[in-house]
Every structure is written in C-alpha cells, then in structure tokens.
C-alpha cells in the first residue's frame, strides 16, 4: 500500500469536512461574513474544483484563487517575446505544454506552429538539452516559466548545457517567485484576506520558514497544504482554528513533503545559476526581486542576450479580468466574457487556457456540477 493512500482516507475526510464547515460557519457568524481564504496555488484551484470541495464549502468559506498559475501570471509582453522568439530563423522553442495555447497580441505558440515555427513540448527541461544536442544546426530556446518548484530543474538543465559547452541552447527566464507576490497581496488594501492556503510544492523547495513573514509582518494566518482532499481540509482546519483564536501563524500541514528550511540542494542550484531580478506579473504588475535571471557565469545561455528584442508594454485583452482574478479580487464568473466569448476552446485570457487557470477550472467543473 502506498503511504499516501492513507490520504485518501474517506471516513476521516468526511469528518474533517463536517468540522471545517461548522467552524467556518461559527467564524462567519462572528464576522458577519464568510472568512475569505485565498488558495494561492493553481494546483489547489484545480483540486478544489475537481473534488467538489469548492462548492461544498461555498456556503461557509469565501475561497479566492490567487496568482498561483505560472502561465496565467506571465505578463502579456513576456508572451509576445516568446512569440517573437518562435519566429526567429532556425529557432526551436521548447516549452511546457501549458504555454502553447496562451494568446499573445499576435496569436499563440500553437498558431505560430501552424505558420511553420518549430515547437517541442517537454515534460522535463532536460529534454530541451537533449533536443539541442540532436539538432546542432538549430537554436533551441527553452521557455523558463514556473515558480520555485520548477526553476531548480531548469537551473540543472542550464548547468548541463554549460558542462557540455552547448552553443545552441538558451533559456528565456520568465520565472516568478511566490513570497514577494504574497507580500504584495497581503499589503493590498482592497483585498481583505483572513487566511492563506500556501502552495505545497513551492514550500517543498523553500521550506516553511520562507513564509513566516506573512504572520510576523502582516498578521496573516497561513497553512501549507498538500493536494489530496484530506490535505486541503486538514490545512483549512488548522487555518480556521487560527482565525477563530485571532492568531496568526504559518502552519505546516504538509510535513511529509515540506520541511522547516526546504530543499537545500534545490536552493543551492537556484543560487548558483540564477540571481534575483524584478519581474512583471499579469495583474500584479512589476514586483521588485520577484523574478530570476541567469547569473553572470551563465549569461551566455540567456535568450534575451542573443535576441535583444524590445518588450513593448501590451494592454491585456479587452474585457478580460484575469488581472483581478489573479489577485483574488473577483471570481471568474464575474467576468462578462466568461463562458460566452471566452471558453477553453476559444480562450481570451490565460486563466481560461492553462489547465490550472481559475477560469478554466470554474468553467470545466462548475458547468459539470450545474
């Protein structure tokens, strides 16, 4: 029996659900409104929708999705840069599959492929290195999107390319870091959060300690959560108990994967390969020190150095509320385009494209339910 199958424990899940609902209802009674809890991670957004937990809890918890879908927070100008790269002669774009259908101001990578650009979907960044080795007459550019969870694997690929002295491999580093984005949200006066459900796999890399500033500086209760229904309910219970007592801590409700100080090897790779840089987030704007660029030692592998194309500021698609959805200021169905002009088949914004986008999750599962 696999260890985590205990996390499918049905009876305990049912009891936790009852307890979470009654505790949330009691808190709502005191506050005069439902407690507002943001699930930061896109994988949580999908898990909440798929398991039906979101609708089961809707009566007593106001769950908001956050900026935790890497594809969705990629800025419009970054997408346009990727499209420009794809159209450079001799370039093969290597990317995670989620990016392929995201619309930029001149189509999407999928459309670029139809026009003849070369595109390879990778599961691991290492595959892009292999691709470069087997195509010496082409230039392979890997699109580095993702948070702390993904960046170490990209860092390893860059190190491997450096060790092989590969001249035809580079990355476009559009990585984003979660804690600075949470600091931005925590200080947003329009967003009155009562608690945060923290991303389990970003925390696996960073450790619980990287998030304690939320309690210390913003007095915001938080809990790191795993991804089984039982994990999510356990973390919500821990979070609600804090809210009830008026305390603010950062609980680690996923200790089988997350430690106090995180993954030292992954952090070492991040330090060795990348340095902190400002990053432009869709919805959240420019946040200092919230991105990663390659270090001087690996500069040669930075695509922006090889193709210094100008990034013009691009307005988001007309009518698209992705920016507010990503900040938890509104729910997908509040967007006038939701389900009408914007559907997963014909997406207007990235939140409807990515498998982890909140609009896509609401569309797919809410429609099935209702």
């Amino acid at each position: 029996m696999e260890t985590w199958s205990t996390y499918h424990h049905k009876e305990l899940t049912a009891r936790l659900l009852v307890r979470v609902k009654s505790l949330a209802a009691a808190i709502a009674g005191k506050l005069g409104r439902r407690p507002v809890i943001m699930e930061v991670c896109g994988t949580h957004t999908v898990a909440l929708a798929r398991t039906g937990l979101r609708s089961l809890l809707a009566g007593c918890i106001d769950l908001r999705s956050g900026p935790g879908c890497p594809v969705c927070v990629t800025a419009p100008e970054e997408i346009d840069y990727m499209l420009c790269l794809a159209r450079q002669p001799g370039v093969i774009i290597a990317t995670f599959g989620d990016m392929v259908r995201v619309p930029g101001s001149s189509g999407s990578l999928e459309k670029a492929r139809i026009e003849g650009c070369q595109l390879q979907v990778c599961y691991s960044p290492r595959e892009a290195v292999t691709l470069a080795r087997s195509n010496p007459d082409r230039k392979v550019v890997f699109l580095g999107i993702g948070f702390e969870t993904t960046a170490p694997a990209v860092g390893l690929a860059v190190k491997e390319a450096a060790a092989l002295s590969l001249k035809n491999f580079s990355i476009y580093s559009a990585h984003k870091l979660v804690p600075p984005a949470l600091a931005t949200l925590a200080s947003d006066p329009d967003l009155k959060l009562d608690g945060l459900l923290l991303p389990g796999h970003v925390s696996a890399i960073l450790g619980r300690r990287a998030f304690t500033f939320l309690a210390r500086e913003y007095n915001l209760p938080a809990a790191i959560a795993g991804f089984e229904p039982l994990d999510i309910l356990g973390a919500l219970l821990e979070l609600l108990l804090q809210i009830e007592k008026g305390e603010a801590q950062v609980n680690n409700a996923y200790p089988r994967v997350v430690s106090e100080t995180g993954n030292p090897k992954a952090q070492e790779i991040l330090r060795e390969v990348f340095s902190l840089a400002p990053a432009n987030w869709r919805g959240l704007g420019l946040i200092p020190l919230s991105g990663l660029k390659l270090n001087t030692a690996y500069q040669d592998f930075e695509a922006t150095g090889r193709w210094p194309l100008e990034l013009k500021p691009v307005p988001p698609p007309a009518g698209c509320l992705c920016g507010n959805v990503l900040k938890g200021l509104c729910l997908p169905p509040q967007c006038a385009l939701f389900g009408r002009r914007c559907t997963p088949l014909r997406p207007v914004g990235p939140c409807m494209v990515s498998s982890e986008g909140s609009c896509a999750a609401y569309y797919r599962y809410a429609r099935e339910a209702g």
Partner: protein, 88 residues
C-alpha cells in the same frame, strides 16, 4: 504546473542520479539530482522529471493523528452536549 506526483523508487543507477520510479503501476525514469538520502523503496515527489522531496512517512502519520485529535475533541464535546440536552 507545480503538480507533483508521489512515486516509489525501484532502482537507482550506478551514477547515483538516474532512477526508475513507479507510480500507480507506471514506471518512469527520473533524476535524483535535487534530493539526498533516498534508497530503493523510498517515496519521492516528482516534478518536471526530478524528485524534489523525499516523502516522510512518519510525518504523514503524525499529521493524520493530529487532525484526528483536533476533530475528536470537538466531536466528543458536541456529543456530550447533545447527550446533556437529551437528559434535560
């Protein structure tokens, strides 16, 4: 995109970095370059072709017990509350 899949290590290659893992009956090759201290039989969390964490089964058990305690306490007190109502 931060999706992680729990998997059991079946075999580690001579380089100590490449490993074969199994999850739900499916085998895959992953890199262990980002973790330390795993053996065949260890459970790891796999993301983008790399193990990023070794799953600690004792911690898993301990958390389950904590949650059980947290709800059992309340269930017991609401039970006694309802019993006392019946007695009244």
């Amino acid at each position: 995109m931060c999706l992680g899949v729990p998997a059991r290590i079946i075999a580690i290659e001579a380089d100590g970095v490449q490993a074969t893992v199994e999850t739900r009956g499916v085998q895959a090759r992953v890199s262990l370059a980002l973790v330390e201290g795993c053996r065949p039989g260890s459970y790891v969390l796999v993301h983008a072709g790399h193990a990023i964490s070794v799953i600690d089964t004792e911690e898993a058990e301990a958390r389950l017990n904590l949650w059980k305690e947290l709800i059992a306490f309340k269930e017991a007190s609401s039970m006694s509350a309802s019993t006392s109502t019946i007695e009244l």
